[in-house]
Symmetry: C2
Subunit: 284 residues, 2 copies
Amino acid sequence: MEKSLQISSPVGLVAGGGVLPFAVADSLIARGIVPVVFALKGVCDPDSAARFRHHWISIGQFGRLCRLLHDEGCRQLAFIGTLVRPTLSEIRMDLGALRVLPRILSAFRGGDDHLLSGMGRLFEREGFQMVGIRDLAPDLLMPEGKLARIAPDADAEADIVKGRRLLAALSPFDIGQAAVVIDGHVVAVEDIEGTDALLARVARLRTEERIRARVGRGVLVKAPKETQDLRFDLPATGLRTVEGVAKAGLAGMATVAGQTIAADLQEMIAAADRAGLFIVGSPP
Amino acid sequence: MEKSLQISSPVGLVAGGGVLPFAVADSLIARGIVPVVFALKGVCDPDSAARFRHHWISIGQFGRLCRLLHDEGCRQLAFIGTLVRPTLSEIRMDLGALRVLPRILSAFRGGDDHLLSGMGRLFEREGFQMVGIRDLAPDLLMPEGKLARIAPDADAEADIVKGRRLLAALSPFDIGQAAVVIDGHVVAVEDIEGTDALLARVARLRTEERIRARVGRGVLVKAPKETQDLRFDLPATGLRTVEGVAKAGLAGMATVAGQTIAADLQEMIAAADRAGLFIVGSPP
């Protein structure tokens, strides 16, 4: 796992959906680093983008983005925020993209990790350095320890261990960054729908009495894939995760400290304390 | 993996839900072996049970079942059919069960596999031999080969290989006897809801455009866990599986020959041919 890098100002943020790109931008500004937002059309929120120095770009404008980064003096670049994987046929490529088309095609053959790291390598070949949230805004990551008032009991600790082992076994398959384990049983594994949908599924299985353990048992365990380039894709948690854990009737949640986004940690802890849940940042 | 055993007549079938116990009983009768059905109250279908020599039993009547098996002259016993895992507190134990309570408690600590093999060991300690569908009715299992008119293309073959690898990696965790792989991407893994729910989930993900591959791509891959005692729990497929694969917009399905129930194989093949799907029985 790479160490945290020195960030030089200004830094380029290719911003997808959600609030995270702007949380990162705010964190950078607080430390005197200027972010330049490259807002992806159709996914990045315009009002939030407007708060920062920004340009609008489309997926496929590889040439234009390289030029803009160069003009803005950005030597470092990060991909931040959500993006539904586009199909190749949806992408209108500019000349710069067509120049490197074989590499783009090869990046598209494989999982999302492969796509992101492949795109990252393309920018690195143009002389830019790819960085990640761990470099840009370590204050947005899950710290280590028992973060809420409640601590996991021995059964929950065992569920966490089992969940971590399961996710490690799933690592090579580019699926399943989260799982729910209740009293030693793996109940469900995250799929392409993500963690919120996983928790909703568990809540429904409880309603339907397919899960028969008492409320207040079991753990959401979340971890990055071992093979994952943490610059491109960190597991994310937030207030919604805590709410989902509560609705799923679990005892708490465990993620990997320093390798999980927890941008609204204080609200997460407050919500966990209200619901009597634990939040654990496990050592990597 | 154990070899197929000689079955002695009469043989005891502890019958849970579904049609499988009766398909097994019919298959036995066709080969001149008398089945005695021990129908589980509340789950086994009474009309079907009535077609065979049968007794009604409750879960927890371990002593009574041993006595009945003995009286009927059954030296071999199988658990066949579906059963929702009961909680310990729901089970009314008879004296015979209370005599072996510590072993029952230990069987309950762990996954479903552990529970079934633990219960099997209890009967073996009483002198009965546990057998499975592979011993009782090999004609109900998936044969090897390409069984429908359509054969998988190279991409589907690669998806099958990836799915088999994933399921092997999941083996130690007592979850995930099935997965959907589309164009090299693992899309979803079966959870305690089972294969029909997995396929319904994939169909919904397509409707919601979370899966963006064309219809007619991807494979349902199904395999037993490597650690699984195949006497107690074989993956099952049926007409409903083929219908689910069609609704999920996949190209076909692959299971492990000789290790998967396919009681209504001819109807499955007919449905697959109508829908243009492949059915593959892969070598173990």
